[in-house]
């Protein structure tokens, strides 16, 4: 299949390109930008007039729920969702059942994903066996099997000695360790940000200090071990300040924020809206504003969906009993655009946070358009709209705080390795 994407506005943040150029694809690779290679005859021509043509999006956290939670979602359903969202590369957190702590499991996951031939998956291996925080996982073997980094997902290591050793061991190989800043024994019975809303609603609180205490520990251990850190799902202005200072100090540290925390705050809990039961909790408006500004000025490197399909049974319960998380992979592009509009950023700068930046954190060549690169492309209409409804979401998880909203941007085509895997209905 040879594809000619014509008349589109090509935006490639990795190469600072934003101009009208045609794109030529053959054998799954980009073979021409601006002009066709000699002898190129397209078998399919896509007219992208008035549309944006950009690298397929890269998502740093998408739970596909396999293995172990197939009743919540399957690779098939979530890959469809990724395609509808223009997302062509996914990092997968290790909190499956069993967790991704064994090379065989990782190989199986990669094999299943490859067979589906949709988005590329980048498994993040479990840092410790069964995520229990006691024994190290076979990191080198896991990398051979396909893991790109190591993480504890939402389960912090209680024993600091183990965390120290895990970081030392990872640093031995230069592997990046992804850690969500959660203090293991502080505010762990909480369900909402410890502030005015939780006080008013009588919800047990999770103090901001649960994030900062963890960050103080992680950063100090990174100093001691030389480990490369990626801080996942920042939620507070205070936590952000610690990461900013660590970066300024010269530590090799990156960080991300989720679409939920970028746009929402504790106020959105309203009358116990279980869609807003998230981990980390939605914090104050001040925190949200700080996260938005930090993503704009580059203190926060990437935006992710933190896609977590959850079934209705786990959400239609009282707030504190609800499973934390929300579906989101289809909302990554619209919510990035919404944020970018709010901060008057160029599309190029907006897309940088969901393409090349997360790709670099993964250590992948994805997220850019260069000659000879894998042809993973997203074509979208920046003037279009995405309406978030249960019916339109492809993900098996229908629960998100953004239900009912009209968001900017509409994905028209998603191309993976030179094949059109999604076309706007």
């Amino acid at each position: 299949m040879k594809i000619h994407i014509a008349n589109g506005r090509l935006i490639d943040p990795a190469h600072e390109i934003d101009q009208q150029r045609d794109l030529f694809i053959a054998s799954g690779k980009i073979v021409g930008i601006g002009s066709a290679p000699d002898g190129f005859t397209a078998t399919r021509r896509i007219d992208a007039s008035g549309k944006i043509v950009c690298p397929g999006l890269v998502d740093l956290a998408a739970r596909l729920r396999e293995p172990g939670f197939e009743y919540l979602a399957t690779l098939e359903s979530e890959m469809e969702a990724a395609m509808a969202g223009g997302v062509t590369s996914l990092a997968i957190p290790p909190d499956t059942d069993p967790p991704l702590d064994e090379p065989g499991l990782v190989e199986m996951l990669c094999y299943r994903a490859k067979k589906l031939n949709r988005a590329h998956v980048y498994p993040v291996g479990a840092l410790t066996l069964r995520l229990e925080g006691k024994r190290l996982s076979e990191m080198a073997e896991l990398v051979d099997a396909g893991c790109v980094a190591f993480s504890q997902a939402n389960t912090p290591i209680v024993d600091t000695q183990v965390l120290f050793c895990a970081l030392q061991y990872a640093a031995t190989f230069g592997y990046r360790v992804w850690l969500q800043p959660i203090a293991p024994r502080f505010g762990h019975e909480g369900v909402a940000h410890d502030g005015e809303v939780a006080t008013r609603l009588g919800l047990p609180g999770i103090p901001t200090a649960a994030e900062t205490i963890a960050l103080f520990t992680y950063i100090e251990l990174a100093r001691l071990t030389g480990a490369k850190l990626h801080i996942t799902r920042l939620s507070s202005a205070e936590g952000l300040a610690l990461v900013r200072a660590a970066k300024a100090e010269g530590l090799d540290i990156t960080c991300d924020v989720s679409i939920n925390h970028l746009h929402l705050s504790e106020m959105d809990i309203g009358y116990f809206n279980a869609h807003c039961r998230l981990n980390p909790p939605l914090r104050s408006l001040r925190d949200r504003d700080a996260l938005q500004a930090a993503l704009a000025n580059g203190d926060i490197d990437a935006l992710c969906s933190n896609h977590s399909p959850i079934d209705d049974d786990a959400k239609q319960v009282p707030f504190s009993e609800a499973e934390p998380g929300a579906t989101g992979i289809e909302l990554l592009l619209p919510l990035a655009l919404k944020w970018g509009q709010g901060h008057k950023l160029s599309l190029l700068e907006t897309l940088r946070r969901v393409t090349i930046n997360p790709a670099r954190i993964i250590g992948s060549k994805a997220g850019q358009l260069s000659l000879g690169a894998r042809a993973d492309i997203c074509i979208f209409d920046a003037e279009g709209e995405t309406t978030v409804t249960r019916e339109r979401l492809r993900s098996q998880g229908k629960n998100t705080p953004f239900l009912g909203l009209n968001l900017p941007g509409k994905v028209c085509y998603t191309v993976v390795e030179g094949k059109v895997m999604y076309a706007e209905p």
Partner: protein, 319 residues
């Protein structure tokens, strides 16, 4: 945001929380309760208002006392009362909260009185009734987690109005474990809505929730400072399981510092009244000399509680 407690006409559809209820509705409930206090003095303590209505006491958390007060109120209004102790029945068999509600709706329930250990559970039920278009079924929150206990808050307001008439000239102190108290949250919401100029809370920092001052109260840690010249002292119950652990060293120490004794009460106004939602822990939060003393209005609170619950049920039944 849509207030799930009010119907399209701004009338009370459910009673879920006192936070967010307009002042005129709070006052209307207290006014409606007034004539109901007289019913208890009749030979036949029964009114035909809810004759033929089925009220389900849906208690996911055991509380014989609260359940009984709702049961008496409903029976004095001639309703049929069905007590469901869900804590020991269906939910343990895997039935969800909303399954239970759907089942009871199929039995033609008219009203649910809900007690649940999780904050917000009655909201979930009210929202479910709304989305399934069962607008003729009403929910009364009989206590949810740490969130709200609106009928307790209302009976406290009734008691204060009975003894002090005008809310707008009072200084009121709430004493004890505010962190875990749904009663305190309902009291604070009602007192601030009804225009009490100074609401104080007194207790150790471990039992004060974050940003409490944003709810419109002054926070004190010292009893003698906090009780000075107050008109009303509202004591909170300290649960046994909080007494020895990371929050408090012991019940004895709590009593020594924050227990209401005649000596500490002496700094309040001489005509100050003392309230307690019950059941009391004598010698932990309150001294017997105060509990049984002339300033205590703890038993009248219980009596008024029936009238207030009758008022709420009759108003919901007619909206």
């Amino acid at each position: 945001m849509h207030n799930p407690q009010l119907n399209a006409h701004g009338e009370l559809q459910h009673l879920l929380s006192l936070d967010g209820l307009p002042r005129d509705i709070l006052t209307a409930i207290l006014d409606t309760a007034e004539p109901f206090t007289e019913v208890a003095e009749r030979e036949i303590k029964k009114l035909p208002i809810l004759r033929g209505k089925s009220i389900f006491n849906l208690f996911f958390e055991n509380s014989t006392r609260t359940r009984t007060t709702f049961e008496i109120a409903a029976k004095r209004l001639s309703a049929d009362v069905i007590n469901l102790n869900v804590a020991t029945s269906s939910t343990n068999k895997g039935e969800t909260l909303l399954d239970t509600v759907d089942n009871l709706c199929a039995m033609q329930a008219d009203m649910f009185v809900v007690r649940h250990a999780s904050s917000g559970a009655p909201y979930l039920i009210a929202e479910h009734l709304h989305t399934t278009k069962r607008h003729d079924i009403h929910v009364i929150n009989a206590g949810d987690g740490r969130h709200a206990h609106p009928t307790q808050g209302l009976l406290d307001m009734y008691t204060i109005r009975h003894y002090k008439q005008d809310f707008t000239k009072l200084v009121i102190a709430i004493v004890g474990d505010v962190l875990h108290s749904r009663v305190a949250r309902s009291q604070i919401a009602a007192l601030t809505t009804l225009g009490v100029p100074e609401v104080r809370v007194i207790g150790p920092k471990t039992l004060m929730p974050t940003d409490l001052d944003k709810l419109g109260v002054r926070v004190f840690h010292d009893m003698r400072e906090g009780l000075r010249d107050v008109d009303v002292v509202m004591m909170l119950r300290l649960q046994n399981e909080r007494m020895n652990g990371p929050l408090l060293p012991s019940g004895q120490e709590f009593f020594k510092v924050w227990g209401l004794t005649p000596e500490k009460l002496a700094v309040a106004r001489p005509d100050a009244i003392v309230m307690h939602p019950g059941p009391m822990n004598r010698g932990v939060e309150i001294d017997s000399a105060v509990a049984d003393g002339s300033q205590a209005v703890i038993l009248p609170q219980v009596t008024f509680g029936i009238a207030v619950r009758m008022a709420v049920m009759s108003m919901l039944g007619s909206n």
